[in-house]
């Protein structure tokens, strides 16, 4: 499937809505195994993304992706800011030559892994991204698959990010960044529909 500026706009609008609606929930998830700010961080970032897209109306896909990336990078802070920012920046870079969503998200995932050094199983957003990206390539991404990937982080022990300080005590909690990444991809499915 191809990413267009129209699709990106729709995607981001739906993602922003989901984040706003689940802001408190995301921060609550971040409380026992983090510092309780993931919802606020993401909400701050996505409202900046929405404002930037609406006021600057970027002409092409590359500028639009770059705008999303820069808004996230400069507004979210913490760990999730540079990670989400890197994801969109990598998509922006590739978008000059490639607009296939599977290829773009592959590049994004590579960027996230490089930026944060996390691998699948470390209880981070990488767990969701690395389940979703191959499914996108195969054209079989579903809400169920996303949900399963999100839930898979619950029994994991964190190896990266703040939750890793807790060692075994991180087990039994959903990873907040995985939950927000889940919203990102369900938003994509809804935008495509």
């Amino acid at each position: 499937m191809e990413l267009t500026t129209e699709l990106l706009d729709k995607w981001m609008a739906i993602f922003a809505e989901k984040i706003e609606a689940n802001k408190a929930y995301l921060s609550d998830l971040d409380t026992p195994i983090g510092d309780g700010d993931h919802g606020n961080n993401m909400a701050r970032g996505m409202s900046a993304v929405e404002e930037a897209l609406q006021t600057k109306k970027p002409a092409d896909l590359t500028s639009a992706l770059k705008l999303v990336a820069m808004s996230l990078i400069s507004k979210v802070g913490g760990a999730s800011g540079p990670l989400y920012g890197t994801a969109f920046l990598e998509m922006a870079k590739l978008s000059n030559s490639e607009t296939d969503l599977a290829r773009l998200t592959e590049a994004a995932l590579l960027g996230i892994k490089k930026r944060g050094g996390a691998e699948p199983g470390d209880k981070t957003m990488v767990d969701v991204w690395s389940a979703v990206v191959p499914a996108l390539a195969k054209g079989n991404l579903t809400n169920d698959l996303i949900q399963e990937a999100v839930e898979s982080t619950k029994p994991m022990q964190a190896k990266k990010g703040r939750a890793s300080y807790l060692g075994e005590r991180s087990i039994g909690h959903l990873d907040p960044g995985s939950v927000s990444s889940g919203y990102l991809f369900t938003a994509l499915l809804e935008a495509e529909a």
Binding site: D35, G36, D37, N40, N41, M70, I73, S74, K75, V76, G77, G78, A79, G81, P82, L83, G85, T86, R115, G116, A158, K159, K160, G161, R162, S164, Y165, L166, G167, R169
Partner: protein, 331 residues
């Protein structure tokens, strides 16, 4: 939550304005950012720039260490939240004098990634940027399979040592080498009597009973390694020092610098008493530290508690750097 603030969501903005307004001789705000750069521009000329920063709530860190002989600029993130790359990037640009810029980063995933991205941005401007990630908190097991040790109060020694070297004209290569040499010799560990309250959250990160303490708590009220009944200062000193001893193998043949650090709400009276107990414990081992300091240097908002940093002085030059005169708000 009872705090002298106006709007919980605006504390960093107001704090930075207040700080810059009270200390114009030391720092000035980089327009459009929550970053502060030295006012004394002459002191920067021809020198490597030193930039540090992190989430706010650790005052006087990091802006209190900006000035001749120490940091060139400091970036203030939201409370307990890493600053963003664009802000760090502005600080790098303000600090750069053509000799490159060195970043002192505390080991938190957010800080590491945001400073890394800022480095990438600066690279596009052909500013040479290197960095060190400080991870002095031995309360956290060091492991390849976790984020690793956190960066805490020992970071201030890093600021001081690199700042002195930079002021004396060290090159970016030399600063990097020095940072790497010093890093493994800085060990810190702390104990909390109460947790910090982030203004926007409105309640403490955790609650300790009236007679409880927690060892190994981080500077963002991250959980520690053991909770128990409050003990005399002597016993706290003994607990923290024996952990450091395990790690540094303290010996009467070596030289040490000591930093006793208050977490924000701990009076100097307690810090000095604890200092005595630390000096006594070391003295019993035949160790007389060559550099000592006690006070609020790397705080955790209004947390009550204390941390102890011990640094082995492997090279006498490091001691000279610690003693080198600076012009800052808070060193």
């Amino acid at each position: 939550m009872k705090k002298i603030i106006n709007d919980p969501s605006n504390v960093v903005e107001e704090m930075v304005t207040g700080l810059a307004g009270m200390y114009p001789q030391y720092v000035e705000r980089i327009p459009g950012t929550a970053a502060l750069v030295r006012s004394d521009k002459d002191s920067m000329t021809g020198k490597v720039g030193l930039v540090s920063g992190g989430g706010s709530g650790h005052e006087p860190a990091h802006a209190g260490y900006v000035g001749k002989g120490m940091l060139t600029a400091a970036v203030c993130g939201q409370v307990f939240t890493s600053p963003t790359p664009d802000q760090i990037y502005e600080a790098i640009k303000a600090a750069d004098q053509g000799k490159g810029v060195f970043l002192i980063v505390k080991n938190y995933s957010g800080d590491v990634m945001n400073f890394d991205m800022a480095k990438d941005l600066a690279a596009m401007d052909d500013i040479e940027v290197r960095s060190i990630v400080v991870d002095d908190d031995i309360a956290v097991e060091n492991s390849l399979y976790t984020q690793g040790r956190r960066g805490v109060a020992g970071t201030v020694f890093m600021h001081k040592i690199l700042g002195a070297a930079a002021d004396q004209g060290a090159s970016l290569d030399e600063i990097e080498e020095l940072a790497k040499a010093v890093l493994p010799h800085i060990n810190t560990i702390g104990v909390a009597l109460s947790a910090a309250t982030v203004p926007e959250v409105g309640k403490p990160g955790f609650v300790l009973a009236d007679d409880e303490i927690e060892y190994g708590v981080g500077i963002h009220s991250e959980p520690g390694y053991r909770r128990e009944k409050i003990k005399p200062s002597k016993d706290l000193a003994q607990e923290l020092l024996s952990k450091i001893d395990e790690s540094l193998k303290l010996s009467a043949d070596k030289k040490y610098a000591i930093l006793v650090n208050g977490m924000g709400a701990t009076p100097l009276m307690e810090q000095y008493i604890f200092s005595k107990d630390v000096l006594d414990w070391l003295g019993a081992k035949g160790i007389k530290p060559v550099f000592t300091k006690a006070g609020n240097y790397m705080t955790s908002i209004d947390m009550a508690g204390i941390s102890l940093t011990v640094m082995e002085i492997v090279d006498d030059k490091w001691l000279d750097y610690l003693n080198y005169p600076v012009k800052t708000i808070a060193w």
